[in-house]
């Protein structure tokens, strides 16, 4: 069986399926990722909350939380990373809440993107600018 990248993402059942591609050269673009996730639906807004720091204290481990009540899946994308795909969380019918928190690495300042797919197939998205700075000079 040929396992496509999209299939891989959908293998997670309530857990975390990280994208583990062999090299950045094969990284899917943000457009490919969102189109694949949304399955043709145009992402709306509202119903999804993305919480991220305004300025990363440490770009190597940035706390990100995303919550989308009623979602069956949530996808996190870091468009400014060599590999934009970060994670997709899927939620089964027994999930107590549709919320995920993790820490991600950000290569540079960028708009982190979160998409949530609802049970009816509709998709919503939220984004948040996280600044990764060299720091210093605060006074």
């Amino acid at each position: 069986m040929k396992l496509t990248r999209r299939d891989t993402l959908w293998l997670g059942l309530g857990g975390l399926a990280t994208a583990a591609l062999p090299g950045a050269g094969l990284a899917a673009t943000v457009e490919e990722l969102t189109a694949g996730f949304a399955g043709g639906a145009t992402p709306g807004t509202g119903g999804i909350t993305l919480t991220a720091p305004e300025i990363a204290e440490n770009g190597n481990t940035v706390p990100i939380e995303v919550s989308a009540p009623g979602a069956v899946a949530i996808m996190l994308i870091a468009p400014g990373n060599p590999e934009p795909s970060v994670a997709t969380f899927t939620f089964g019918p027994a999930a107590g809440s549709q919320r995920a928190a993790t820490r991600i690495r950000l290569a540079k300042t960028q708009d982190v993107l979160a998409l949530a797919k609802m049970a009816d197939g509709s998709v919503v998205q939220a984004q948040s600018t996280v600044k990764v700075t060299i720091g210093g000079c605060g006074g």
């Binding site: 305004e54 300025i55 204290e57 600018t129 600044k131 210093g136 000079c137 605060g138 006074g139």
Partner: protein, 564 residues
């Protein structure tokens, strides 16, 4: 329940009262040449709760000169709004007469001449007198310190903040929040908080970095005048970015406005009639935060060193900005009834050191703290013929001198000096003592490094720092001023986005364009990287000033600012 409209009417009524008792009165005092302690303290008691706010003292125990900024550029929604108003426009906005004591205290023009006329400002012994006078009128007045208290002088550096901790205990501070305090390291902060500090060290936004759980007390409840007052602390949000993260690796900060909202809701549920946020966010960050967090009555704002003579009203919240370096004390009287703030009266009290009698007990403490180091502190290294100042968005003569010292002593083509907002001024004719040099450089990571950087890296640094000041979203501003440079000039278009603000970078010695791919020798200080090597910056400056004997610095014109 008071409606928004009633609230605004109440504000208007009190702002009319300011004419008799607050800032408006200063002009009249100047006309009468009647600057006296009684006049400075004059205040018609109002309401049932009094707050006293001090902030950003930067360990300045004794009176200082402090020239307010010539450049304080506001971007986005903050453009042209206080505190982004300077000089003549500031005087017009607050109806202050040029050349008056308040013009000297609050603006930069004719600073040297007015300084000679009206004298130094600040001094913790004078602050103690003012606090005692307010407490005599209002025994239950609540004294709150916005932080940046333990750092900024030679004695605070040598005692790791102990001199200021002792002084603040004596002053009777009742809660504080923090920023530069952390640069003594997390162990030292915990040692002081656990053993020495006689009041709470608040920070709703200080979290354990590993588990992301609250690490310090978020708030303290006080009963004053029959009213439940909640004081929520907000430490400097960008601590691990703007200052060395390795010094307090176990903590995480951030604005965390959801957490602030939770804390407001929690204290309200506990019966708070008045919610005060003691903040080290900086003015613009507080202005934004208060538009998004509901239920804060008063924000006592700090970090950006702004002295604003009248409260800025945002929705139903008042923002109080009390300056820096001990130059001002704010008194805020509030009428709190039925669980609501119904009105306020405010005065930014200028601490004219020659007018206010020092408190003897505090004066004795200051002398005792200085005594072990006195000879070291007061040794004269040189003299200045020029006004030396730092505060402002771009270049200042103190940093021009520091950059000259770095280039000369460290044999570098380019010097970088951090755009911190602290550092008092010196007037022409003043001696430059060792203590004066420490006042503009004191820190626990003062090593003066020397390295090579490409033109591209230098531009990236300038762009990055510029975005920390001129990003139109205050939540992306760290609150320092622009990095100061020696040996290069550039143009900064403040209206552009990150990556395109800096242009026309040239070497000032030759006029040659700075080439992106070429390598240059660069020296600077205050690196946030662990293991930075080099002599301490104050020793570098001392060696340079000793060689010069007499310092003459013309304000530099190597940085061009556009997009205003």
């Amino acid at each position: 329940m008071i409606t928004r409209r009633e609230f605004l009417q109440a504000s208007l009524a009190t702002s009319m009262l300011w004419g008799a008792s607050g800032i408006g009165n200063w002009s009249r005092l100047a006309a009468q040449q009647a600057l006296s302690q009684d006049k400075l303290l004059e205040f018609d008691d109002f309401g049932n709760v009094t707050l006293i706010h001090i902030t950003d003292i930067h360990a300045q125990m004794r009176p200082i000169w402090f020239r307010e900024p010539e450049w304080n550029i506001g971007v986005g929604a903050a453009q042209g709004q206080p505190p982004h108003v300077v000089g003549k426009e500031f005087l017009q906005m607050f109806q202050i007469a040029p050349q008056s004591p308040e013009a000297y205290a609050l603006t930069y023009e004719d600073f040297s001449a007015l300084g000679r006329e009206y004298g130094k400002m600040g001094g913790l012994d004078r602050v103690a007198t003012v606090v005692a006078a307010i407490r005599a009128a209002r025994p239950e007045a609540l004294l709150l310190d916005g932080g940046d208290t333990w750092h900024g002088s030679m004695t605070s550096f040598l005692t790791k903040g102990q001199d200021m901790v002792n002084a603040m205990n004596l002053l009777g501070v009742e809660a504080m929040t923090s920023h530069w305090e952390w640069t003594y390291g997390a162990d030292r902060v915990r040692e002081i908080v656990e053993n020495d500090l006689q009041f709470p060290f608040l920070g709703a936004n200080i979290f354990d970095a590993e588990w992301d759980e609250p690490a310090f007390e978020p708030y303290q409840m006080f009963e004053r005048g029959g009213v439940q007052v909640a004081v929520i602390g907000q430490a400097f949000p960008y601590m691990p970015i703007a200052n060395p993260r390795w010094m307090f690796p176990e903590y995480s900060f951030g604005i965390r406005e959801e957490r602030m909202q939770e804390m407001v809701d929690e204290v309200r549920a506990k019966g708070a009639d008045l919610v005060v946020c003691l903040s080290h966010n900086g003015f613009d960050v507080d202005r934004k935060m208060v538009s998004r967090v509901q239920g804060i009555d008063v924000i006592l704002t700090g970090h950006t060193h702004d002295a604003v003579p009248e409260p800025v009203v945002i929705g139903e919240t008042i923002l109080i900005a009390s300056g820096s370096n001990g130059k001002f004390v704010s008194r805020v009287d509030l009428d709190v009834r039925d669980g609501r703030m119904m009105g306020f009266r405010h005065k930014l009290i200028p601490i004219f050191a020659d007018v206010i009698t020092p408190d003897p007990e505090m004066a004795a403490l200051i002398e005792a703290e200085r005594a072990p180091f006195k000879a070291q502190l007061e040794e004269e290294i040189g003299t200045t013929e020029s006004l030396l100042y730092r505060r402002g968005n771009f270049q200042g003569t103190w940093d021009d001198l520091i950059c000259d010292a770095i280039r000369s002593e460290r044999d570098a083509q380019i010097a970088l000096s951090p755009g911190v907002r602290w550092g008092p001024s010196l007037l022409p004719g003043d001696a430059i003592t060792r203590e004066d040099i420490h006042n503009v450089t004191s820190m626990t990571y003062g090593q003066c490094y020397r390295t090579e950087m490409t033109g591209e890296v230098i531009k990236t640094i300038l762009e990055d720092v510029a975005d920390n000041i001129f990003n139109t979203d205050p939540y992306y501003q760290q609150g320092g001023d622009m990095v100061r440079v020696g040996g290069i000039g550039f143009t900064c278009d403040v209206a552009k986005p990150i990556g395109s603000r800096i242009s026309e970078m040239v070497l000032t010695d030759t006029g040659a364009t700075v080439d992106a791919a070429s390598s240059y020798t660069v020296a600077g200080w205050a690196s946030v990287n662990e293991g930075t090597e080099g002599p301490q910056i104050w020793d570098v400056i001392e060696a340079h000033v000793k060689k010069l004997g007499t310092v003459r610095v013309a304000p530099s014109d190597t940085v061009r600012v556009t997009g205003l």
